[in-house]
Structures are given as C-alpha cells and as structure tokens.
C-alpha cells in the first residue's frame, strides 16, 4: 500500500512537471514563464525528496528555485517582460524535435527498472563507497563522503566551473556602481520582519555548511543559502547598503580564495607523498585526516559558491542601476 502511494505521488509530480512545461512554452509573458520555472524546480525538488535523494533535493530547492529565479528576474529587468511575438514555425525544426524525442524515448527502453538492485549504477562502485565510508571516513552522510572524498576530483572541477561562471559574468557585465539615490522605498513591515530573518538565514547557512557530514547539505547549498541572506538584505534595504556590508571588490578574491583552499588541500597531500586530494595525509590518524580534509574542502566550496552567487547578483543589478 505504502509503495503504491509513493508511486502515485511520483506519477502526480511528473504529470505536474509536464503541465508546467507546456504552460511555460505557451505563455508569451516571460515573467510568468520565470515563475513557472521556479515552481518547476520546487516540484523537481519534491520528486527528488520522494526518491530519498535529500541532498539533491536541497540543492535543487536552493539553487533552482531560489537563486535562479532571482537571477532570471534580474535579467528580465534588462530584457523586458514580453517575448517577441514573431513566431516562425519551421517544418525542419519540428522534424528535429520529433526525431530527438523519439531517440530519447527509444533510449528509455534500455533503462533498468526503478529500484533495480542489478542496475549498472549500483553494481559498479556504489557498494564499495557505502562500505568504505564506514571504515575509512566514518561520517554518517555517505553523499558527503562520496562528494568530498571519493570523488574529490569531480567536486574540484565543479567548484572551478562555478568560479569560471562568476569570472565570465564579471567580464561581460562588470560590477557596476550603485548610487544611493536608487534606494527602495521605506517599508516598516518588511524591515521589521526581514531583519531577524536574515540572521536566521545566515545561521541556517552555517548549520548546513558544518552539518553536511551528518545530515543533508554541504558547501554548495550553504553557499547559496548564505548568499540569499545578503540578496534579501539588498532587495529590502537597498543595494548600496549591501555593498557596504560586503564590498563588491572583495567578492572575486573570495571566490578565488575558495577554489585555492580546495586546491591547496589537495596540494598538501601531494607534497607529503600521497595522491592529490588524499586527505589521510593531513593528520597522523587517517580517519581524522579525512574529517579535516572534508571540512576544509567543503568550506572552500562554500566560500567559492557564496561569493560567486553574490557576485553574479551584484553584476546583474549593477547593470540595471546604470541603465
């Protein structure tokens, strides 16, 4: 009965996703489409949660629904809220789309069943990771162990990708300059409610950062949550104040520092005759070395993500202010 119920929820959520996509394609109002994509991300997060992928759901809710929506709204202020009405229906486009869709559906036929224990994902290295997490790393959250230790190279790559995204936005748009005259109007209700909530958001971000070994969360989610506190501050109190709290000039340095912390952690183990990112070199006891390595690496990721997210937000709104 319970399994059937979960399946029912999954099917409903998937149907909901399809519905949202169709409406988002049909609407010509880009504002509505942006909001629909925010809802899409939330429903995806629910789907991940239902599939017991809590860390992924957390990331999707923080990045997909939260930060991306804010970013798209900032972009909409540059482009205007309406799609060009001129539509060209080409038969070639339809043909390509139908062909791609057919190929994808054909590919789905080869997928293993959901929850199949003999699926390639489960027989390759996953069981090894789950066993070795207990022995060598000794933290409850296997996802963090895989992300920060077993697949440390991949996560390093992801951090560099995020850093380079920030650099690209900085090169294209620049930081901008915000005059204090563009302040949002004073709103006492928002001020009173938002002030304590910013503190709560920042504490929650720190909790997610340092509790990632034990529960859902980690550097990526924490960085976005921490940055969203500052974004909220700049939306309610005005961006020139936010730029006084976190000056725009230090953000690129922080982002680079985050990537450097990650890379230097790997370099330390390389210098003490271990492989790159082998954390057992960091301490005489290999297990506590792993703990320390994961802590360092996660804080590097958190710092890089936080400063990149805030940097992109500053760039977009800086351009908006100067228009």
């Amino acid at each position: 009965m319970i399994e059937n119920l979960e399946l029912l929820i999954d099917v409903c959520l998937l149907f909901f996703l399809l519905l949202i996509v169709f409406v988002a394609i049909k609407t010509t109002n880009l504002f509505v489409a942006t909001m629909l994509f925010g809802i899409f991300s939330f429903v995806t997060a629910l789907l991940f949660l239902d599939l017991d992928a809590v860390d992924v759901a957390f990331t999707e809710a923080a990045v997909g629904a939260g930060f991306t929506t804010v970013l798209m709204l900032s972009a909409l202020r540059l482009t205007g809220a309406f799609e060009n009405v001129k539509h060209r229906h080409s038969i070639l486009g339809l043909f390509i789309v139908v062909l791609t869709g057919a190929a994808l559906i054909y590919g789905v036929a080869d997928f293993p069943n959901m929850g199949d224990a003999n699926a390639p994902v489960h027989v390759h290295v996953a069981s090894e990771y789950i066993q070795l997490t207990q022995e060598k790393i000794d933290i409850p959250n296997v996802v963090t162990a895989v992300l920060a230790s077993f697949r440390g190279y991949d996560t390093f790559g992801e951090t560099v990708v995020i850093f380079s995204a920030g650099v690209a936005v900085l090169l294209l748009l620049g930081m901008g300059h915000v005059e204090p005259k563009h302040e949002p109007e004073k709103n006492l209700v928002l001020w009173v409610v938002v002030k304590p909530f910013i503190a709560l958001i920042l504490i929650f971000g720190l909790y997610v950062q340092f509790h990632g070994d034990f529960g859902a969360g980690g550097g990526f989610q924490a960085g976005v949550i921490f940055a969203s506190g500052f974004i909220l501050y700049s939306l309610v109190f005005g961006e020139s104040y936010a730029r006084k709290v976190v000056p725009s000039s230090i953000l690129p340095r922080f982002a680079a520092l985050g990537v450097l912390i990650y890379g230097l952690t790997g370099l330390v183990s390389l210098l003490s005759d271990k492989t790159f990112l082998d954390y057992s070199a960091l301490s005489s006891n290999p297990v506590s070395g792993q703990h320390m390595g994961i802590l360092l690496v996660e804080s590097g990721v958190g710092l890089a993500v936080f400063s990149t997210v805030l940097l992109i937000f500053y760039s977009f709104s800086g351009v908006n202010h100067n228009e």
Binding site: E185, N187, V189, L190, V193, V194, F197
Partner: protein, 120 residues
C-alpha cells in the same frame, strides 16, 4: 490516543477545506487583491492546520519541534509576503475592482454618451 487521532482528523479536514476554498478563491475571485487574500488564507491557515494534524497523529518527537518552527516561520513570513506583494501591485498601478455603484453608473453614462455621439 483516541482524542489525539480525532483531533488530528479534524485538523486535517479543516486544513483540506481551507486549501480547497483558497484554491477556488484564487481561480474565481475577480481581481488581484481579492485573489491574494484567498491565497494567503491557504498559506497562513491551511498549511499550519495540516502540519498540526500530522504532528498530532505521529506523536511528539524532535521532528515535531522542527515542524513547530516551520509553522512559526510560515505564520510570520506569509502575511509579510502578502503585504509586500500588495504594495508592489499598488506601486505598479493595479487598482482594486471596487467601484461603488454611482461611479459605475457615471462611467456607463459617459460610455453611452460617447458611443451615441460618435455616429454624428
């Protein structure tokens, strides 16, 4: 235990009813502000009721404490968001559909005058 499960049923039922009325209001009410009102009922009344219903059913654990925190956050944040949305809408020039009968009559009269004048 009996009382708990009964109370939880009542809470869940009430929460369901408020969700339904909120959804109907969101679809059927005429203008932005009244729709916002309907939506905020769902957020600040139905959702806490549903959470309390679930909490009573499962008994008090550490998770219930977290759920209570979520209720507190919802009850504070949702009216604030509704307020901010309302202000933004008023700032953006959306007027409520709240014309009294006399103004409507005047408008109708002017419209008919215009339409009758135009053919000449």
């Amino acid at each position: 235990m009996m009382i708990n499960s009964m109370l939880s049923d009542i809470c869940l039922l009430l929460g369901g009813i408020f969700t339904l009325t909120g959804a109907i209001g969101l679809l059927r009410l005429p203008d932005f502000y009244s729709r916002l009102h309907a939506a905020s009922v769902t957020e600040s009344l139905a959702a806490p009721l549903l959470i309390i219903g679930v909490m009573l059913d499962t008994g008090f654990t550490l998770d219930s404490a977290k759920l209570i925190l979520i209720i507190v956050v919802m009850v504070i944040v949702n009216p604030t968001i509704t307020h901010a949305l309302c202000r933004a809408a008023a700032h953006g020039g959306i007027t409520p559909k709240m014309q009294s009968e006399s103004t409507q009559k005047n408008k109708l009269q002017t419209e008919t005058e215009f339409s009758s004048k135009e053919p000449k």
